[in-house]
């Protein structure tokens, strides 16, 4: 057991090294439906390390990573199809016990430190899910052990669920909030007993860097430049966003340029599709699906078809880092090209 670790023994990563692995492994989620169900193999290594935050502070994280020698937070985005068999191998490189769970689909149970486990499950219900470590809840999940998981309807490339409005491209927006005191307590094998005070806010693992800031426009550092987060489309490129909340803060997800078509709420298909510029995102694993329609911004005069707009959380505390640094929080840009 590695109860207490010398910090020098940790892997330490700049955020740059982390996201590049993700971008190359998935990038924008394009999806070609298959006529036949498939078996999807995925191996995750549970690793730990430090990630440097926008104010320069290194914060401890654990992640579902692609190898023993790296740290990925969140874990790679996974997209599969109804009927597929998913075979996930978890290699726990740490001394602590962990698990892999998708609510309503699979729970690996305890995977002890140093052990590996392969689980196999079939996915039968289209939707947006989070995979996460359910042990020591919510702390292991908060430490970074989470990722986005999507199940496409059988044979569909453009629907969220059978009969849903259609889209032409899809993204995950996985939000997280980080209290470095809690993360350090988790690192030391203890249970946080301080009031939760988040100081960093991310989407798909990155915070934003406004123009001129170090790391701005670097897709491995800046969530506004991250191709997993920033929406790019032409008018008519209806875009699905699968919104997940790994953190504890309730959020208000706000888009400029267009309202969103609000399709699902916490896994339930809504009775009606409402057109919203702000959507309530529950804390502690809340989720929704929405389509950003990429319609010509309706209130422009003269009319326009191109432009750049932000998506940001209107719970504005989440737009900061380290108690200040507005625009170094959870936001991205939307490009009408």
């Amino acid at each position: 057991m590695k109860k207490s670790m010398d910090r020098r023994t940790f892997l330490k990563f700049s955020s740059a090294g982390i996201a590049s692995a993700l971008v190359t492994s998935t990038g924008l989620l394009s999806w070609n439906p298959r006529a036949e169900a498939a078996t999807i193999n995925q191996t995750f290594y549970i690793t730990e390390g430090f990630i440097t935050q926008p104010d320069g502070v290194d914060v401890y994280f654990r992640g579902f990573s692609p190898g023993r020698n790296n740290l990925t937070v969140p874990g790679a985005q996974m997209i599969v199809q109804e009927g597929d068999t998913v075979r996930v191998t978890i290699v726990n490189t740490l001394g602590t016990s962990h698990s892999f769970k998708i609510d309503g689909i699979i729970d690996s149970g305890r995977i002890r430190g140093g052990e590996s486990k392969t689980i196999e499950f079939q996915v039968n219900r289209a939707g947006t899910y989070m995979y996460y470590d359910a042990r020591n809840a919510p702390y292991n999940r908060l430490s970074g052990l989470h990722g986005g998981f999507a199940v496409m309807p059988n044979g569909s490339s453009n629907k969220v669920y059978a009969g849903s409005p259609t889209f032409v491209q899809q993204y995950f927006w996985l939000f997280h909030d980080i209290d470095p005191v809690w993360h350090n307590t988790i690192r030391n094998g203890n249970t946080p007993n301080t009031r939760y005070s988040p100081r960093y806010f991310t989407m798909n693992g990155l915070s934003a860097r406004p123009p001129g800031a170090p790391g701005a426009m670097d897709p491995n550092t800046d969530s506004m430049a991250d191709p997993r987060s920033a929406l790019h489309g032409h008018v008519g490129d209806r875009t699905l966003v699968r919104v997940l909340n790994a953190g504890l803060c309730q959020q208000s997800v706000h888009t400029h340029g267009n309202h969103m078509e609000w399709l699902t709420d916490n896994g339930q298909v809504r009775d009606d599709v409402w057109s919203k510029d702000c959507i309530y995102l529950e804390g502690n694993m809340g989720k929704f699906d929405a389509i950003y329609p990429f319609e010509s911004p309706p209130d422009a005069w003269p009319p326009v078809t191109t432009g750049i707009y932000p998506m940001h959380l209107h719970t504005e505390m989440s737009q900061t880092a380290g108690g200040g640094l507005y625009m170094f929080g959870a936001l991205t840009d939307i490009h009408f090209e």
């Binding site: 340029g257 009606d272 510029d277 209130d299 504005e316």
Partner: protein
């Protein structure tokens, strides 16, 4: 350690270090460095045409707000001349002056900011060209001049406008106002083909953390912990009035008096950052629109949970005389604890 930002402006950036901050802002106190990651400008507006309606707004960083306990809190806001053509200036109010326009109008919002600071106007829910969207990092923060935001609302409904510079602070400081778009039929109809109404109420519910109200307009932009990740409100307001006691009760246009058989439209704006839950004191209302868009089917409710900046348009047709308490809980975004409650009323005669 990884990169650690120095405590002041990175000279390699495109940011401005135009000073400002504490002294002139009226907030005083807490002065740190200059402004970082702001993008000063006030260029000519692309595609400018003659307007049907013009709002001329200035900045007022000294708006005293007296709470029920006698405490005076300094607010910031826009000062203005409403829909007229007069000059800027005059005292600001909290909330800032309401804008009321008609669907299809070409609207100019002229924002004048002096050389000592920067602000913008984002018409929340209105979706114009990005040059008129008021987001500094994409375009510019208005500084040392006047910028014209040009927009033409396509959808009747309830919106609001707010500053989008160092937004976490400036919007909390009170830099917002209601924005109502009437359909061509005019006030009295919510949207074309939608319900009509006889009386209107405005429920703009917000929380105030008085510890933020001595910060300069630049607070935190160059780094340093100024506490903007923690909003711990100690006052709760509805449409500019302390809502924790009776100050908003029977006070139109927050509270409303209607006759049986009349229709009341309540325009509810969640203007704070923490989530809210509004309860209608036993009345059932019908939501016809949210965020400036009609619902496909109206929904009958006795309470609504709302996230920051959501708007709901609710029609009440009360059948029984009496006074109904409209209570809005402000709920902590992590703990779910009720931090405070605002109170208003609907009186049915």
């Amino acid at each position: 350690m990884g990169r650690r930002r120095s405590s002041n402006t990175d000279t390699t950036t495109t940011t401005s270090s135009m000073g400002g901050g504490g002294g002139m802002g009226g907030g005083g106190g807490g002065m740190g460095g200059g402004a970082c990651y702001v993008y000063p400008g006030a260029p000519a507006t692309p595609g400018l045409v003659n307007a049907d309606v013009t709002f001329n707004l200035g900045i007022d960083m000294n708006i005293p707000l007296t709470m029920d306990d006698g405490t005076t809190i300094n607010m910031w806001g826009f000062s203005g001349s409403g829909g007229g053509m007069g000059g800027m200036g005059g005292a600001g109010t909290f909330p800032s002056p309401a804008m009321r326009v008609t669907e299809g109008d070409i609207v100019h919002t002229n924002l004048s900011v002096n050389m000592m600071m920067m602000h913008t106007i984002h018409h929340h829910g209105i979706e114009p060209a990005h040059t008129s969207d008021g987001v500094g990092h994409i375009t510019w923060d208005v500084a040392n001049g006047t910028y014209t935001y040009q927009w033409r609302p396509a959808h009747a409904g309830t919106y609001f406008y707010h500053c989008h510079t160092n937004t976490v602070l400036h919007a909390e400081m009170g830099m917002y106002g209601a924005l109502i778009v009437d359909p061509p039929e005019g006030a009295g109809t919510l949207f074309s083909g939608g319900p009509d109404y006889d009386v209107e109420a405005f429920w703009v519910v917000d929380e105030i953390d008085s510890s933020w109200h001595t910060l300069p307009w630049t607070a935190g932009t160059c780094g340093g912990d100024v506490g903007l990740n923690e909003l711990n409100p100690d006052y709760f307001v509805i449409t500019g009035v302390d809502g924790s006691g009776n100050s908003a009760m029977n006070a139109p246009p927050i509270s409303a008096t209607v006759q049986r058989g009349q229709k009341l439209l309540a325009r509810y704006i969640c203007a704070g950052y923490h989530p809210q839950k509004i309860r209608f004191g036993g009345l059932t209302g019908k939501i016809y629109a949210s965020d400036g868009r009609p619902l496909p089917k109206p929904v009958s409710v006795t309470e609504i949970r709302a996230a920051s900046a959501e708007r709901y348009d609710i029609i009440f047709e009360p059948a029984q005389t009496g006074t109904y308490l409209i209570e809005t809980d402000i709920i902590h975004w992590v703990s779910g604890d009720v931090l405070g409650t605002t109170r208003a009323s609907i009186t049915v005669v």
